[in-house]
Amino acid sequence: MTNYQTRFGSLQDFDKGRVEIVDDDPKNYVFSNVFDVASSSAPYERVAVAKNFEYVIEAARAEGTSGWYAADHDEFVLCMDGEIEVHLVKLDKAAVEPGTQGATPLADMPQGRKMGRLVLRRGHMGLLPRGAAYRFHANQPGAMMIQTIEGLVTVQKWAEICQTAA
């Protein structure tokens, strides 16, 4: 039986593709790479790599312990490299105004009841539930994507991360 090798990416080893232009502007394809973005970002800087109206996919470098966040809607985190812990707390009272979009950074340790903890490795997806506060922790640098809505913590630097020349 033939053995196949699945090619994953990582912060240490990724091979970025490209847009080969025939007759178009490469910027139309908003082409970037999650590992490339995470490699050059500050820990937990949540950089938009995809945007569709108000919705975004953020890429982030996981390293050390993040601040606390909360959102008025579900979010999801997908670990793309490394091992990332997610700590969840059920807030005693809402930390963000109803209808607020995207993640809101919390100034202090949230008051509430401990919900649990996730440990995500490559390919693992976790729920960041509405009404909870969460923070990330990674002993070693890792990379993750977050399915969310554009908000206060979303960083947009498209010209820096995307292919602009043919």
Partner: protein, 341 residues
Amino acid sequence: MAMLESAGNASPSSENLARHTKVLPADNVNGYRSFEAGSFQFKRDEYFARITWPGGSHVIPVDYFLRALMRDIAWGFFYGTVNFDGVFGTTNHYGEVTMFAGLYNDAFRAAGRDFSERFPSDVLMPLFKTMIGDWTNEGYDPFAAPMETGGPWGRKHGANDEAVERARVTATRMVGLPGDTPVRTDANGFPVNRMFADVPQDAPVIEVEPGFENEVSAFNLFAYLSRSDVTWNPSVCSVVGDSLFCPTSEEFILPVDHGNDRCEWFVVLTDEIVWDVKDKASGKNRARVIMKAGDVSCMPADIRHTGYADKRAMLLVWENASSKIPEMIQKGEAPVVSVQF
């Protein structure tokens, strides 16, 4: 991708809809039924699907035709246009659907030889489902990669209803949550695909305090995708409002040339997928997008694309199923490019 039930319907705009459909008796030689939809007729023989319409005809190898028809059915006519090949296809108006020959082909258009008819979606879909059921032989699965299924060729022999009637997977919040779409396992009929035998099957650590079992949850998405039994058929695995993560496993060729009517995002999670991008209306080449693990790219709303994957790859298709988008498309207000910079 593939959540059109919740995508909302634009107001039907056509008053002269074709409503005629007919299933004809089985052919005495090949054993296959023929079909009529409006002025279109469909026949199959041992190797080909043959389509005729007033003033024209077309032939498509039946494996190409069945793979494309299967996706058109599974995706509910999908977002925008499903080109079965350079001549024949369907365009979704969300509640109505146009079936066309040569509508997006420069030569047909220039010669005035293109032909199209618009149907209520709920009139055309049952005919398509009957067609795929009749034309799919025992042992052939149009969702499967070519090396993982039998051939579609020959005279009518049996059927494969189990394959062509698969229910599409649509998580309502996230795969693996109590009451939502279950994770895939050997026990529930999803063995690891031969090309993903090296994908770790480990589960995330989940420590839950009592009372939070419905909210503290995680699953191994890569293991889930390694066990997909279909190709080029996205399924919803997580939902944030109208934002749908629709991952899928891809091998060989996307069986349609998908003409976008809205921006569509791709994130390649493993391996490599190459996209040929052409102008939606003319079919002229615009770009090739070579995507490797971690690459993110947007398909503009005015293109058609098809994809190629040698080694089975994991692709995250990211869709916005907002009900406002079909109306924006009708008014020409939907953005062609998602991000300007």
